[in-house]
Every structure is written in C-alpha cells, then in structure tokens.
C-alpha cells in the first residue's frame, strides 16, 4: 500500500516510505539480509526538577522530565538526488532539523548526515535531541557501546555488573558514553551505528537504538557551572554523521573496526591552486 523510494548500490539498499519520507528498511544485498528500520529525530523535555528530585538537566546531568521523547516530526519533506557516484535523500523534518541519507557507489554503509539547531526554546522547554533507530530485532534488553574506540562493553538495561543498581532514572540511568560506535544484535544480524564524535547513547526498548546529537537547556544543574547549557553563537547549530552498518554478526566486527579507524583517521584534504615551484633548486 506504501509507495516507496529506494536508494541503492551493489551492497546496500535503503527503502523509504514516500508518504512519510522516513527510512523504513535497510538491506544488505551482499549477505541477503533485510531489516525493517525506521529512523527519526525526537527530543526529551529537559527536567527543571520535580517532586521526586530537584535535580535539573544541565551540562553535567541528563535528566528528562518524562521518559517518552517527543518526535521532531512524524514525517519529512524529501528530495532525491541520484547520480553515478551517489544516491541521496534530503530530508527536512523542521526548520531546525534536517538530514541527508546518502549511499556512495561501492560503499557498504549508509551515511546519515544530520543537521540540528538552533533548537527552539520559546516554549520555555529545554530540549535534548536524539536520533533513534527502531527495528523488530529481539535484543533482550542488551546493547553494546565502545570504550574510547577500543573495548566493546555489553550494556543491560537497569543493570550494573559491579553493584546492585536501584534504578531511579529509567532513561538517563540507561544512557552510556558512545565514543565511536553503538550496536544491537539478535544473534544473527547486527545493526551498528558509528559516530563522528562522542555522544550519549542507549537502547531503551528491544530493537531500538538512540544517540543524543544536540541539547539546549534553560536552567543550570547546580553542579558548579552556574549557567545553563545554552549555546547562542554558531555552536547552536551542529552537523554530524552517523554511519549505519547492517551485517551478519560474524563479520560485523571487521566492518565496524575498519570503518571506525577510517572515520577517526580520515584522509586530510589539502587544496592548492597549482602553479608550483620545484622544492629543490637542482
């Protein structure tokens, strides 16, 4: 019933619902894997303190005032670009949130280049914006995040391996630092998202995976900075990339480790106007 939009190369096919403009499926054509994936942007309403605790969300603290984030938009205005070297979908979710879903010729990952900001706060609500991937994967409340790009740590919701956790913050208490990658797996397939900078991340539902990309808060969190996390200069608009890999569990590590290295130590681009002179006089 849905008319769909497809971008593909010889390794990957991404399918979007042309009605909503949102991603709805990723296929790994090489390994014949197919995973329904819907991806969108949401925002947590930042807490300013409540009857349970006076703790507000701030530079040191992430504390949403309700557990369910609000969608930036349930649909995106889209335009499609297809050339020999790249196929991409430009998504506009709102005046302050857009994304390009990009597939280069010969690449085995989907590139999501997101642009978020300036986050509007005229409604007097601080906002903590996430990109969330939802799939039907049975992940048994587990997900994996890296530790400074090296060791991969298993995370389980409402659990700490070294002490008995009394979970008081069902969302923030399940957020972990993501330096280079976060992934979920059902034992057969693995969905890995690589980041181009450190972000907070979690998996709060089975098959779901989220990364916090930007925040704009209105009050201080009482931990010493004494000012709200509220960029007003060019830093209030942020652009970054998430690289999405769908692969079998068996070869996922080889893919994300090589790709993460290439992301962190990307080639340096230097331009020159030609017109050079020999370095050595002879």
């Amino acid at each position: 019933s849905h008319r769909v939009l497809v971008i593909e190369n010889k390794y990957i096919r991404a399918t979007l619902d042309s009605g909503t403009g949102l991603l709805m499926k990723i296929e790994n054509l090489e390994q014949n894997l197919s995973l329904p994936v819907s991806q969108g942007f949401f925002w947590y309403n930042a807490s300013v303190g409540d009857e349970k605790s006076s703790q507000a969300s701030g530079a040191y603290i992430f504390r949403p005032n309700v557990g369910k984030p609000i969608p930036v938009s349930r649909w995106a205005q889209i335009s499609v670009v297809k050339t020999a070297l790249v196929q991409e979908i430009h998504q506009n979710f709102s005046a302050w949130c857009s994304q390009v879903i990009r597939l280069y010729k010969g690449q085995r990952h989907l590139e999501l280049e997101w642009t978020v900001g300036p986050i509007p706060v005229r409604d007097d609500w601080g906002k903590e914006v996430i990109s969330r991937f939802d799939t039907p994967m049975k992940t048994k409340g587990q997900f994996f995040t890296d530790s400074n790009g090296r060791e991969i740590l298993k995370r389980r919701d409402d659990y700490r391996p070294t002490w008995t956790l009394n979970q008081t913050e069902p969302v923030a208490g399940n957020y972990y630092p993501v330096n280079t990658r976060i992934y979920i797996t059902d034992g057969q397939m693995q969905l890995t998202v690589l980041t181009d900078r450190s972000q907070g991340g979690s998996s709060l539902q089975d098959g779901s995976l989220e990364l916090m990309v930007h925040r704009r808060l209105l009050v201080d969190d009482g931990r010493g900075v004494s000012e709200p996390l509220m960029e007003t200069d060019p830093g209030d608009k942020v652009r970054g990339r998430h690289l999405v890999l769908l692969s079998s569990v068996s070869d996922a590590a080889a893919r994300h480790r090589l790709l993460a290295e290439q992301e962190v130590l990307a080639p340096q681009v230097v331009l020159s106007l030609g017109g050079s002179s020999p370095y050595h006089s002879r």
Partner: protein, 172 residues
C-alpha cells in the same frame, strides 16, 4: 616554518574534564575553541612544508576548515585547482571526495593524469543560500601516503566539445 607545539599544548589543556565533556562555562568553551584554532595555523604550515618536501614541489596549499558545512573558497571560486589527500592509516583507503563548487562541469584527473568520473550534485536547500553545488569524485590514497588530483572547470565551449567527444559514435 611550521610548528605543532601550539596544537599539542591546546590538546593538552583540553584533556580537562570540562573540555572533554562540555561542562564548562560559555566563555571557557569559547577559549578552548580559540586555543584549538590558534594551534591549527602553525600546523597547516607544517603540513604544507611536509607535502612540499614529499612532492618535491612548493605550492600555495590551503586548508578548508569548514568543509563539513560546504564552505571552501578555493574550490568555490577557482577554475582550476589541485586536491591532495594525505592518508594517516597504514592501509590504502578509498574515499569519496566532496567539495563545494560553483555551478558547472569539471574534469578530474587522477595522479596518473587519467580522467576519472565525477559528479556535481545539489546540496540540500537547507544547507546554504549561497552555494548549491558540490563536486564528487572517488579518490584512492596509499597507506601513510598521499594522492594529488587535479580539477579543471570546463568552460561552456569545451563542455560541448567534451560532450560531443564522449557521445558514442554511431557504428557505420
């Protein structure tokens, strides 16, 4: 002469937890950014000297610090320029190069002076009022090495000629 010490010192200062996690006051954050930016300049001279020595040619290299937001004066205003990619990894890397350009068609040549395929694509309308176009071409860079590609903008005249040449001849 170039110098990497200022950037090293800035990075040393930015090991502070406030810099790593962003828990600093705005003026402190602005100063962190200022120190980093001040460190880039002497490093760019250092990289230019290294590339000149390795390529045996002194060139007027320029670095586009805002490439991620589609701003690069050299590629946006020049009819002809060179793109050098340095790969710090110990293995060959294939990378799609994206550079903001003015509208038009371009010929891209690889380090062996062979034409390679390239596209000019439209950037999302929300990205920039001023610039709408980006040049795309696939680059391959050796391990711990560099590759230099040359880009030439085709004038309308030689664009038609190029088209005619590239049009498949009718077999008699």
């Amino acid at each position: 002469s170039g110098d990497s010490a200022p950037l090293k010192e800035a990075m040393a200062v930015l090991q502070h937890h406030d810099a790593v996690s962003g828990t600093a006051r705005q003026n402190v954050v602005n100063d962190y950014a200022r120190q980093l930016a001040a460190g880039w300049g002497p490093c760019e001279v250092l990289v230019s000297n290294a590339l000149a020595r390795l390529s045996h040619y002194k060139q007027n290299f320029s670095f586009c610090r805002e490439l991620n937001i589609s701003i690069c004066p050299v590629s946006q205003t020049s009819e002809r320029f060179q793109v050098t990619l340095y790969n710090p990894l110990g293995r060959k890397v294939d990378q799609m190069v994206r550079l903001p350009v003015d509208e038009g068609n371009f010929i891209v040549k690889d380090p062996h002076d062979q034409n390679i395929s390239s596209n000019v694509v439209m950037v999302p309308s929300s990205y920039s009022e001023a610039y709408q176009w980006e040049l795309l071409f696939p680059a391959s860079v050796p391990a711990l090495g560099f590759s230099t590609y040359s880009v030439t903008k085709m004038s309308d005249h030689n664009h038609q000629a190029h088209n005619l040449l590239s049009r498949p001849r009718k077999h008699k």
